[in-house]
Symmetry: D3
Subunit: 335 residues, 6 copies
């Protein structure tokens, strides 16, 4: 069966200090495989979709381990090539109480970042697919990646795929090269049907600020004005009482209206990384199944909440376990 | 000294994923020894009682390790025999936030479940004891176990021992064979003096539902009507805000009245397994010492709360540490 | 560069059960290096100060490991000598919920405790320094240590150093020998400029109780009356809802007035040991930089809060990470 | 691409005590996925072949984890179905010096063992393949498995696939049911082209003993006489000086002659489990590539040796790493 | 059933660096319970004997954990009392190649060492027993322990028990106090029937050197001359090629003759601690069963060899596993 | 006190799979700090010398952890600066039997490699020192590092320091840029007094091969001819029977003669990395103390052997532990 959903992006190795220790406080690192788009791919695979990953990794045992993990999680990794260069890494120090988690990126000059746009044959790669997912991390990695992302989005639109774009704005990555983030992102959003973004992402693209209680609504309106293909603008809203205690809500803007879901309390967060990716995967799961927007949004929010209960970058739970949270919140041991 | 308290039931190996990981997310399992009745036995041994366990385990290194753990915890395990067959296992995936813990039983066809009723010589086994504790898990394991449990309860009553029965209704176990749970349980309750049960346990036995705010009270009344020997019906009431945040209250019904204890907040639960067993042990500790019911109930609730702070299936704290929580709640480091 | 800040006290090895397990529940101990005064020294070194530690350790691989850890954390350990005897240990069982943490001291007869007062040449040791920090743990260890602490404090005052004394009253240590805690402590406080102490510490010294809402204020006033050199009396106030959930406030009394900071909520404490030491270090950091009292107190409280998020006895964060909590409380992942 | 090599057999979870500890000496188990035929499949996948696994696992998180591990290692697991029942387990205690390793099987009544022969549609499953690998473990699991194995072997021969059979005689498994091992195995060998077996395996099948220095040669001759399709009889010869020190040689009998390879010294064995499976995979790798027998045998022996250096049940090294041992034995760090 | 074998001595906690690391190279210690006499008791319990331990431990969670471990291993620990004081510890750094293992004792002033001789009521403690085992470690701990050991040995002899004494000479312990090791040990040997000792132990007692190839034989002869009750003098002989590679032989002298067993090669030693204790237990096992001396010695040597394959201080294998090494050395995996 | 010995080079983080696992076989990495020159510095510090390290690390928590480890091991790290860029890493997979260990370098573009030669003020850095140690790894990292190394060596010679150069030829590093290894190395050797090199290192420099049994002798002669300042050419000779079993010998060539030490057997190697660095440190220790060459060489060989018994990159044993191996090889537990 051909893959109906494709995700394009970089695979990373997360090297994390154990528990709540500082980096190298004790001489050990726990390893997880992640990456914004891979996280979406893996969650969707666990929800039962045929999902393929597109990208490249280092031609060494680390890169091959990343591919193997994708396979283990049920993602078709045949379009992830191995190429000369190094593997993108990030070091993670998980916070607690009032001490924020720290991510130390060590991904510059990775095999993925150095892959030229010409290395991807998009018409072949996209053949038979229904949906392409990209995020704002990829174009931030350098000119080659930006070119590739734009080429991918354009090819997907030309071939009639849905194009989903997750903002994921990372200022530090953009600043590391002479980049014009706004103009690159505008080309990507011009191709997108569904946008995971809040007012901060949109303000980067449009070059104007949105403030106050209506910021997300105003930003969505402006994005709908600017980008004619965009139909959905979806995001979580996160209120952080401490590092391990958040309230997580969600919202969905369309050209016709909006849905606002009340916040879920997350008290005693295990791992916050990848919460947004699980959310995107959950929303896309509903969209793919033709659920109505509210159902899709509720599934997305449930998926996002559950990600916070799991160590690692991605959500590896099937649809039933997410639905059981949507349907009735039962917290006792299931025997 | 002869053992004054005897517990009859199966010993299990718990194989748990580390921390809050999914099962086999990383390639390691943490092992604990448990089992509802063994948990009661161990807690009572730590409270200072002479306690003996009755049962059987697999005739291999796993079974012998289970016996050894009982001994380590101060329980007399000489009446736990080794027999052909396999060891009962359960796999545990500890939840967090809105993700419930999952227990995967792998206990079918265990050496204990296959032990015929005739293998137990109850008059000999019960000699010199004052109290026999059983739970609803055992008769749910199959006809042989159901027969054995009834034989044990009847022998104990005939010999003048107190009979304590903890409901522990597990629908999945009963469903695995052509069982008539209600009629088996009725025979057991007919022998019991003290019952750890709430309205759900009682409704299974009596075949009628109890609903609403008065459900536990009404169920207790019905049980007192049906089972003439029952003097105490005791249970916790648990309100679950999330997987790791509960309110735990307790109640005690007698033919003369009832005691209701206000809820304790459990915020940041370490391990919820065995909470009910620690509660039962705490209440029995008070009963054995002739404390008044409220003192016994308060000790039981304190024991139950403390179990939630400890990894593993049982409470391994002495009386003094439980009492210090009853007497004054001091939470600072004790140096 | 000569060390401007000197800390005098014992280095200890903490041997802790993993996670929230009981001691020796599983056959492993996690090791941290600590000690009240060393914790202050290490935190100050991370804040950027030139700090030296004075003391002694056992002449074996444990003692040398303690010195090595000091060096690793940036403290000058050249004035920590190795001497015959054993290393001071403490075993820690970290609590949860309503189960308090337990410290089991095994520090009697340590190389440090047996070091005679004559082994320290204070004029040489203090040369070039600005501030000497001691705590009430040291004189509690025996007559030799009490004599040494008094000699150190007097020499420091004579040489014009600031003398900082942290109460740290540990009744069990004082009771282990025929000691007159009050008279020894009075000699130390007579030399002190800055006192980390609340009404309980002061009542031990002055032999009178302070009760009620005004207890700390009244105790401070009495201390100012009795000890003419004391200029600052600083302490945290801790309200403990459970073992892992505290509210932590702070106060600063001077002869001219007082500052009261509102409480910070600590919900999901990782490690409470050393919270007071981090607080002292934070306050001293401000004092050394000539910040006004409120700024210093706020920095101290932020340092104390952050310590609760870190495993181990000391705070190993630089000034910027503490300031970022003071300036704006942002809890999301920092990338 | 269709899978050219298919392996049929049970997936097992290995639960092993850490290091050289006794089972449950400390409360932890390390988990590996294995199974004789899966080990062959995985090694062949690492050598670059398109390999598919056929079988069934328990319909729970353990079974799904086993499938996921197959995928991670590059094996096509789409023909491994999930079925009601339990997962086959084995507990391993790794020996040392003169203390042999102990395997404690807990695989009775597994989902695989209970899968009826009718559940497999062999013409569909074998479509497009070139080679089917089975082993003597599968028919030993019970009548259903024996029937299935025979059906598979016959279908494969009928469809023109090569049939490879690895003896793997396990007396305990055969004894657990009323089985006629010899007659079942004869039906399997009647279909086989290549046999991994020594004189002990063959004596079980033929019901006669082969002794002395010529035992393997005589047994091979007898097998060639009895089973007209068999072309290759290949095995290792293992001399064990202690648990961690073996000499491993290899031999290959054909109807035309034989090859004997001298022994390799294995001194400081890390994990001996799966050595024979790695050997079989190595030999099959050569056969598939059309290498001459001696090259194939040398590759097989190198693969077997390398397996002993790796924790876990299977060899996860690519062809180049095995060849480098064949070509020149260089043991220094490769940088 | 009364205990037929009694062992008297100190229980220790071993705190060891993991693997082959230096002490505190990484911040973790692995804990084992040991002590020369307890090791003998535990091995004998695993061989099936009713064994009781006599001694005392610290009245804290460490001491109680030591008692619990004894119970877990099947030893009757009711005569091990809890007393004020600290727990005896030793730190272990396991060597490799040419780097010897290092033991750092931290056992001075332990609860056991401080227990006065009057605390033991030997006629009561020895009632019903057949054999008392002591070792030279105990009298080395101080005058109280020396007095107690002599009292125990004399009482045992007076009551008709066999007295077994294991030399275990530790110069550092004797040197730590003003002791006359020779005269104390002479009083103990005067009571002994069976002696585990070689020429070095005997030379300490008799105050003369034995050198050359005949040293053990000559020393045994001298001991038989001096101590009229001694019937057996048994020891291992160890040739050490490196830290992890030894040859271990054994010898048995009686007044009538001697037995010499050839050396076993131990190549890849896992843990050498407690090898002599396992040897003693093995020999005593044979003696208790009335085996002839050579059988007993062979069993003892096999037990000693197997101990080297196990982490921890004692041998926890049953008789059958030791016998299987005596009967035929089979090293392959046992399934 | 000024540092008498200075080492210049890069600090690396080693990220290693646990035990003998393949990289990322399980999701954990063990971290050690290393680097050829740092290993020498640390070993010399443990031997009692005042040693300073010169270099630079990344301005992040990884770089600071590397500096902290140097301090912990007793090296003066004040001349190691923090600079923008990434930290040099290497991943290690430790081999066994016939499977070689694999090093995967991920050190390109590190903060150290990017530090320009102008960033080092050699006259200031070398002030007061007696000896500068460099190795062939540093100039292989790129033109800036090569320039710096040459500048350092020239300045040292000009200032009258001894210059020690360790060949450490790494072909892969040199090949990564357009380098002329021979001409760069010649400039370094032109400054050196003592050379750690064998015929392979020298052949790279001189551009001619040395073969046969006399290769090292002939190469040394050629080097003495070419480089007038070189007085000592020292190296180990390693015969590798398997990955964990080597014979290690050592030789020392001077213009007057040579010393050959017979091989030590290393059977059961724990960690081979850094063996050559420990050797160099041992030889330099003797040279610094003015021992004769043979004593120095014997100390160096003992240090090298002992390194193989220790996990991690460097030898952290004091002089006494190395000497005890030189003086008499005693392998039993030291208590």
């Amino acid at each position: 069966m051909s893959n109906r959903i494709l995700c394009f992006g970089e695979l990373l190795l997360r090297l994390a200090s154990p528990g709540r220790e500082l980096l190298l406080q004790s001489p050990r690192l726990d390893v997880h495989i992640g990456g914004a788009e891979a996280n979406v791919a893996i969650a969707l695979a666990h929800f039962g979709h045929a999902v393929g990953m597109i990208g490249s990794v280092a031609d060494n045992s680390l890169g091959r381990a990343a591919i193997a993990e994708l396979r283990r999680q049920g993602v078709d990794a045949r379009a992830v090539t191995v190429r000369p260069g190094r593997m993108g890494l990030y070091f993670l120090e998980t916070g607690a109480l009032q001490r924020p988690s720290e991510v130390l990126y060590d991904r510059a000059d990775s095999a993925f970042a150095r892959t030229p746009a010409a290395a991807y044959d998009w018409p072949v790669l996209l053949r038979g697919a229904q949906l392409l997912h990209l995020s704002g991390v990829t174009p931030a990695l350098g000119q080659a990646c930006a070119d590739t992302a734009i080429a991918a989005a354009r090819a997907a639109r030309a071939l009639g795929l849905q194009v989903v774009f997750d903002g994921n704005f990372r200022a530090k990555l953009w600043q590391a090269w002479q980049s014009d983030a706004a103009s690159i992102l505008r080309e990507l959003l011009a191709c997108a049907d569904t946008l995971f973004a809040d007012h901060r992402d949109i303000s980067v693209v449009l070059g104007r600020e949105f403030a106050g209680a209506e910021a997300d609504r105003a930003a969505a309106a402006a994005a709908f004005d600017t980008f004619p293909h965009v139909r959905n603008i979806v995001s979580t809203r996160r209120l952080q009482h401490s590092v391990d205690r958040h309230d997580l809500a969600a919202q969905w803007f369309t050209r016709r209206g909006e849905i606002q879901l009340p916040a879920q309390r997350l008290d005693g967060i295990v791992d916050r990384i990848g919460g947004g990716d699980a959310f995107a995967a959950g929303v896309l799961h509903g969209l793919q199944h033709g659920w109505d927007d509210e159902q899709s949004l509720r599934f997305g929010l449930a998926a996002a909440c559950l990600k916070h209960s799991l160590p690692g970058d991605f959500l590896a739970l099937d649809e039933a376990r997410v639905r059981s949270l949507m349907d009735e919140a039962r917290f006792d041991v299931r025997r």
